[in-house]
Every structure is written in C-alpha cells, then in structure tokens.
C-alpha cells in the first residue's frame, strides 16, 4: 500500500510539473496509467493546461505531414504542381507505356527459335522450345483430320518402311 501511495504521489507530482511547464525529463514512452491518474479537473481551475506533455503517438517533429499543406498530396513532393505531375508521369510511363505496351510486345513475340542456328553441339541446348505453339496447333489439326477420316492417329513407324533402302546381305 505504501508503495502504491508513493507512486500515486509521484504521478500527481509529474502531472503538476508537466502542466506547470517545469522541466521534466522528456520520456519517449509514457505509460498509459499515468494518463489515467491525471484528473484534468484537479488542475483545470488553476491554469489553462498547455499541451506541454508529448505523447508517444504525437507525430515526430521532424516528420513532415505532406497532407497538411496539400490534402490532395500524392506523396511525391511538397509543391502541389510538381507532386501532381510526378504522379502523372509515374502512372503514364510506368503503367500505360511500359506495362501495357511492354506486355503487348511480349505477348506477340514470335514462337520460333531459330531452327538452323549454331553448331551441332552446344552446351546447353534448347531443342524442345522450337516452334512449340506451331507444333501443338499442327498436332491438333492432324489428330482432328485423322479421327475424321478413320485413320489411326499415330503410326508406330517413324519413317515409311518402303522408303528405307537396306544394304544387301553379303555372305
């Protein structure tokens, strides 16, 4: 009980010191309980309480709130005109030019890797990606044709056996 009474007094003293503007140590962290103890009515009659106590949640003095001078601030600059133009420039060149035109460019990139480039053996070799989209379309077209005409979809022979000329057996 003694301890609590002491601390109560200490906080009261603190509040009085703060409102009277006496030099109190500036603390970054105030416990919320100190605010609960200060009863404004106790000091209200004596003097107008100045906001001399800095709370943690007050904005930093060095922080500039761009919304204060310019409520429509986009966050780029203090000057509203420069701020507006900066926003427009970023959005136009960033989204409308690069993202949109760039995506269109990439979407329409050709399908084919160069079929006859480079020497026969290179490390590493990319073979499967040549003309992939064409190959898929051609396969679908052939399958559709063969199914429509009742032909087998695939033959097990890679090449036509009648066109292969084997050397004659020599005994």
């Amino acid at each position: 009980h003694g301890g609590r009474a002491v601390s109560l007094c200490a906080r009261r003293l603190w509040a009085v010191a703060a409102t009277r503007g006496l030099p109190a140590a500036r603390v970054r962290w105030d416990s919320s309980s100190s605010r609960a103890v200060i009863a404004p009515s106790a000091v209200a009659g004596k003097r107008t309480p100045e906001p001399a106590v800095r709370w943690q949640e007050d904005p930093d003095v060095e922080d500039e709130n761009l919304y204060e001078k310019n409520p429509d601030s986009h966050g780029y600059d203090r000057d509203p005109v420069v701020d507006l133009w900066n926003m427009r420039v970023v959005f136009f060149f960033g989204f409308s030019v690069v993202l949109v035109l760039g995506s269109t460019f990439i979407a329409y990139l050709p399908d084919y890797r160069c079929m006859g480039c480079g020497p026969p053996h290179v490390y590493p070799r990319a073979s499967a990606s040549r003309m992939q989209e064409w190959a898929r379309r051609e396969a679908e077209r052939l399958v559709k044709y063969r199914e429509a005409n009742g032909l087998p979809i695939m033959e097990s022979n890679c090449f036509d056996p009648s066109k292969i000329q084997l050397p004659e057996d020599e005994d």
Partner: protein, 459 residues
C-alpha cells in the same frame, strides 16, 4: 546494347542539370523509358544467344535479369523520394547518381561477354552500393554493415580474378561464347579443385551460401530503401548468374565438388527460414528469407539439370520482384513509425486497408502461391533435386512449410490484431506507395501468364 548503356549513362548529366523540382520527374521518366527498351531483349529468337558486339551479348538467361535491373531503377527512385526530401539538392542528385551508376554497372555485368569484363564490373558494383549503405543508412550499424558487405565480397572474389587469369592463360580466351565450345573436361587434381573453389566462392558469397551469409542481414537492414531493393533484387542474382556462367567451364568436376555446398545450402535453407520465425526486426526477416530463397537457387545451379536451371532462372526473377516489394512495404511502415520492430506497428489492416492488400499479395507471392512464377521456380527446383536425390524432398518440403509459416507470421503481426496506441495517427497511404507496390506486383502477375520468357536458355 548501346541503346541501353548510353541513355543510362546520360541519366547522370540529366540529374545534375535538371531544375531542382524536376530531378525526380526527369529521372523517373527516363529510367522507365530505358526499361521499355530493355524489354526488347526478351525477343530471344536464337537457340544460342544474341551477339551484339565483341563486348556484349544477351541470352535467354541474361535478358530477364537485364529487364529486372532496368525496371528496378524507376522503382528505387520512387521509393527514395520521401526519405530524401529533407536532404540538400546536391545530396539528392548524388544519390540518384549512385543509383544510376550502379544500374549502369549491373547492365554491363549481365551482358558482358568477356569474363574479365564481367569480373571488373562485378567488383565495380560494390562501390556505389557501399556508398549508398554507409552514407544514407539510418543507424550507426551501417558502417559495420558496409564493412562486412565489402570485405566478404572482396575476399570471395579475389581468387576468382586469379582463376580467370589462369583460364585465360591456358585456354587463350575468356570470351564466354567461345569458351562454351572450347571447354575441355577438367580432371580431379588438387590444382583443379582449387581452381573450382576459386571460381565459385565469389558467387557463393554473393548468393549468399548459408555459411557465408553474415553480410546479408546487416547490409539489407542498414541500407536505405533503394539500397535494400537493389541488393535483394539484383545483386544477389549476380551470384546466381555468375554461377550459371562459370559452371560451363568447370565440368565434370562440379559433380564431385558440389557436395559440401549442396549440403550447406539444403541445411541453410531450413535454418534461415527458421530464423525468420524468430525475428523481431521486419527488414531482418525479409533479409533472411532472401537467403533461404537463394539457397534454393544454389542447389539448382549445382545440380545442373535442365529443369533445375529453368527453376533457378524463374526463381531469381520472381524473388527479385517479391523481395523488393516486401522491402518497400517494410519501408512504408518504417517511414511512419520510425522503427523496424514488427510488434511496434501492429494491426495496420484497419488503418491502411489497401496497403494491407499489397502486404497480403506480396506475402502470398513470397510463400510461392500458385500460379506465380515463385511457385514455378520452387517446384522445378524441388523436382530436380528429388530426382538428384530422393531424400532432399524432406528438406524441401520442410522449407516450404516454414516459408509459409514465417510469411503468415509477418502478415499477422503487422496487419492483424488490435493496433498499438501510437500508430493511430499515422498518415494514410500515399499514391506513390500504392503505385510502387502495383509496379512491383503487376509484372510478377503478368509473368505468371507467360512464364516461358523467364525460364532461361534451356526452355
């Protein structure tokens, strides 16, 4: 290539000669136009590579990385505008110059033909990054962070210089396009083992490999937002890109030498994901998650199968965009609360609902939600490593679970719950911040519609 290099170089006079209220507008506009030009390199019609000159070439591996690099500069400029608003005009111009110089070196690194030129530019990227971290970082630890960053990378890459000079002397050329065809299998002698180590350690440090990753949390946390973005999105990928190029010269020794690094990566992937679960610092969490994702890329590059290479490339691009976006989100918190501690800024969903939507999408991309290319990369790497050794599936699966855990942990801590008292008067989200997040996310989502451009030279 000059159509990208010259405009990037000219961004520097543009910045210095612009009026003081136009520097950001001018530099953002022109860097966006440069990124539009770089998209043209994605038209890779050759099986092999597009050879522009004796110095530069582009390849289905380097073209997406080039596009990522050039796309990132306008995003870095947009992200930096707020924290630089109090600086003098000369300091702002110097910052933009550092970013542009870094961009220039990175562009030339990704497209270099000669490996010595690649090495010189690889080292050159350290200088602007160091200046950005140590001059514009926010805490006193930034000096230590810069030191770690510089010396880890330098010590790793000096042996690379010696190895490259040795290869130049013995093979006669370090032109990458020629070296592909002239490469002879190297035998398992002690000198070849050291050659392999010398070649690979620079990139292992850069990736970073788990045991050599100490520089990364420091550098990422202490760097200002643009520094964090470029470190996470592009500089880490330099390591992956370099590894994919240099392993061409180092076969078949890689098959034996890779084991310790594979073990370190597989284990490190789980360790760093677990560390993420215990982080209090938001940027540190994102930094460790970068280590975890890059460990997957190391595993993929060292296994050297076609699918793993495709997965590695996709993962690099996906991680670049996702990680950069997460750093931007963390920075938007930091600019309001001036603290990186996660629990200090809780319950932001009720205050900033649109930003919460960006947080959600970025975290979902980070935990490799289908159909993003993050999932594509992780899945390909997982399948390739399973075929390399069945046991790795247990580790990969554990990593995926822990990745989901810490991504959701990050989401829940920053967004859900009751707000702390002191965040009640934070400023609403600016258009700038929302545009920044959209510019990160939209390419990622668009790539999930057409992933074949980021699947690399094997596809």
């Amino acid at each position: 290539m000059l159509k990208i290099i010259i405009p990037t170089t000219m961004l520097i006079p543009l910045t210095w000669l612009s009026k003081s209220n136009m520097i950001w507008i001018n530099s953002t506009t022109h860097s966006l136009l440069i990124s539009l030009i770089s998209l043209s390199y994605l038209n890779q019609f050759s099986d092999n590579s597009l050879n522009f000159s004796l110095l530069f070439f582009s390849d289905p591996l380097s073209a997406p990385l080039l596009a990522l690099t050039t796309w990132l500069l306008p995003l870095m400029l947009t992200a930096s505008q707020n924290h630089l608003s109090k600086e003098t005009i000369a300091r702002k111009k110097l910052y933009i110059t550092m970013l542009t110089l870094l961009q220039l070196f990175l562009i030339m690194t990704f497209t270099a033909t000669e490996l010595i030129m690649f090495y010189i530019l690889f080292e050159a990227t350290l200088a602007p990054t160091l200046i950005i971290i140590t001059r514009w970082g926010n805490q006193t630890e930034r000096l230590n962070a810069g030191l770690y960053f510089l010396f880890y990378t330098l010590v790793g890459s000096l042996p690379l210089l010696i190895a490259l000079l040795y290869i130049q002397n013995t093979t006669g050329s370090l032109n990458f396009l020629i070296a592909q065809y002239w490469v002879k299998p190297i035998s398992t002698t002690w000198s070849n083992i050291f050659l392999w180590l010398a070649c690979m350690m620079a990139f292992m440090v850069k990736m970073p490999l788990y045991g050599l990753h100490l520089w990364l949390p420091k550098a990422h946390v202490e760097a200002p937002i643009a520094g964090s973005m470029v470190l996470a999105a592009v500089l880490l990928k330099l390591g992956g890109y370099g590894m994919m190029r240099i392993t061409v010269l180092l076969n078949p020794l890689t098959g034996q030498m890779a084991y310790p690094f594979l073990m370190l990566s597989l284990w490190g992937m789980i360790m760093t994901s677990s560390i993420c679960l215990r982080q209090t610092d938001l940027k540190s969490l994102i930094a460790y998650s970068s280590v975890s994702h890059m460990a997957l890329v190391i595993v993929a590059v060292l296994i050297q199968t076609p699918w793993s290479y495709m997965g590695a490339t996709a993962l690099m691009i996906a991680h670049g965009l996702t990680s950069s976006m997460l750093f931007c989100l963390a920075n938007s918190n930091y600019e309001r609360v001036h603290s990186r501690t996660m629990i200090l800024a809780r319950g932001l969903q009720t205050l900033l609902p649109l930003m919460a939507a960006w947080w959600l999408l970025a975290s979902l991309a980070n935990l490799a939600l289908p159909p993003t290319i993050n999932l594509l990369g992780e899945l390909f790497v997982m399948m390739a490593s399973f075929s390399w050794s069945n046991t790795t599936i247990a580790l990969m699966g554990t990593n995926i679970i822990i990745t989901a855990l810490y991504s959701l942990y990050m989401l829940i801590t920053t967004l859900r719950g009751k707000q702390t008292d002191h965040v009640k008067n934070i400023k609403p989200s600016f258009t700038r911040e929302n545009a920044l997040m959209a510019l990160h996310l939209l390419p990622l989502l668009l790539l999930s519609l057409n992933p074949k451009i980021v699947l690399g030279p094997i596809h």
